[in-house]
Symmetry: C2
Subunit: 314 residues, 2 copies
């Protein structure tokens, strides 16, 4: 039996995932409830309360509750500002609301920041204090850990590395900036770039894998086609890895971390290219000791937010 448990809550646009996490970062139980993101503030709060209450039902010795959600949010004040995916909450004091309901410490942080801390405390970056974490999925989120703590910056909005541009004349990101790494090398960007190449007439098995529907060429399809030896899928992924290498070398030149951790749903697409990243990134920095920076895969997958929530309240 675990003497101390922490509740990690991962709030997204469609679901709330929550779990009990022990002091070793092991997830002891977890559940999901639907998130009503388009309703009232109380609809959204209700989903979070429901998830937490179910976890508390069996009298687990819970010492804290950590919630993570997409930003922008104010981690110091515990306030959700105005995340595009959570229209129910505008300047909503989520931690205050939860503190009223439960007699334990409650913390709030950005999901990528929280996952970065979980990887530092319990995961792939264990033993390090200065970590750059990237989660690559539909978008690209990042978290910076310095001296073992999340780096928040002035307003709590630091660490938005997914919106660091490496192409000032490039495609416009959803955020409005050209050439963010998110619009170039995220899972959706990989799929978009594959579709563009197919549209331009390039041969590929990807279209067959997507039942001849161009719109159905997803990151997953690119990955499958690559695994089956498709040359165009390989080209798309190598280009993506090379963009990621420039971006990661930017992070080393600026932040000089000890370790780089890569997670997220689309990280699998990059796994065959980790060797290439480890080779190219040091060549692209002025840091004379860049080759010592380890590039590793994250420990936590889909449960990164649960572990992250728990990490921020330990």
């Amino acid at each position: 039996m675990d003497k101390n448990l922490f509740i990690g809550v991962d709030v997204g646009g469609t679901k709330v995932a929550a779990g009990l996490v022990n002091e070793q970062g092991e997830i002891r139980s977890h559940l999901r409830v639907p998130m009503i993101a388009n309703g009232s503030a109380n609809d959204g709060l209700g989903a979070v309360l429901s998830a937490i209450s179910q976890l508390l039902r069996d009298g687990a010795p819970v010492r804290g509750i950590g919630v993570c959600s997409p930003g922008p949010l104010d981690p110091a004040a515990g306030v959700i500002l105005n995340p595009p995916n959570l229209p129910c909450w505008r300047n909503f004091p989520l931690t205050d609301a939860l503190r009223k309901a439960y007699p334990v410490p409650v913390k709030l942080d950005n999901d990528a920041n929280a996952a970065a801390l979980a990887e530092t405390r319990w995961g792939a970056a264990r033993g390090y204090n200065n970590v750059f974490y990237a989660t690559i999925g539909t978008g690209i989120g990042t978290g910076i850990v310095m001296d073992g703590k999340i780096y928040h910056g002035r307003t709590g909005s630091a660490g938005e590395g997914g919106h660091v541009s490496i192409d000032y004349r490039g495609p416009i990101c959803a955020c409005g900036k050209p050439g963010c790494i998110e619009v170039l090398a995220s899972g959706s960007a990989i799929a978009r770039r594959a579709r563009e190449k197919i549209s331009s007439g390039r041969e590929s098995s990807m279209l067959a894998l997507a039942a001849q529907k161009l719109d159905a060429v997803s990151g997953e399809v690119v990955g499958k086609a690559y695994a089956a030896g498709d040359a165009l899928a390989r080209e798309v992924l190598i280009e993506s890895a090379d963009m990621l290498a420039v971006w990661l070398s930017n992070m080393i030149d600026l932040l000089d971390p000890e370790v780089i951790v890569i997670g997220g749903g689309a990280a699998e697409l990059y796994r065959p290219f980790f060797g290439r990243l480890r080779e190219r990134v040091p060549e692209l920095t002025v840091n004379p000791r860049a080759r010592e920076v380890t590039i590793v895969a994250a420990r936590y997958g889909a449960e990164a937010g649960i572990a992250g929530g728990a990490a921020v309240c330990t």
Copy 2:
């Protein structure tokens, strides 16, 4: 009379500049001696010792000596590693050598880091604790101040923001990476881009200002032509400012500083575009409070290294 003075020493490839600085960051006296960068380690050391000894001659109450130089260097160990501009020193323990000669604390740091600290302590960023400083000259150097201290990273090589690329397919920087802001928007890059446009046949008064010698079109010539109303010079500078805006927005998204300070010999070229920068940078970030980040001109000019050296030893 100042009760406490600090010696700041700025070591470059051709000269050592050194000065006495008081606790208010005022430079009370300064001098230059030639640097023998191609000679032996002791030739280089001799230049530094000569500068310091001249400043000490009148019995000034010196409490510390701070040296800054181009990197790479190890600030914690006080060792110069292998700066391209200072071939005389390879893994040279400069602070140890100076401590043997003078009975006061001796510190060493990267020149841009040191200047960032001087601006934070005494200059344009006074009153702030989280500062992003850029010095734009032949190259672009940067320094990150967090919680009132220089951010050094794992190896002491953090804060090399001049080598953050915003153009992964762009021109190759001296460091080997494509599209570093240094190769796009430094003083030399502004001049190079002006020359390229002139070579391609564009009309401009710049060539006349450079006595019809294309090679003589320098950053200074671009600035003069702009001031006299030259349209091509204006185009080059606006493009430069817009690249700088993308780069600065990257810094806000990643670091979320309180203030951005811009100095260096080519900063003057950007002065007419500070309004444009202040307008565009917030539009290019996801930080909901980016508009609050002040963008200001540095206090220290050519003496930034002297003030910086003094700042790192106070």
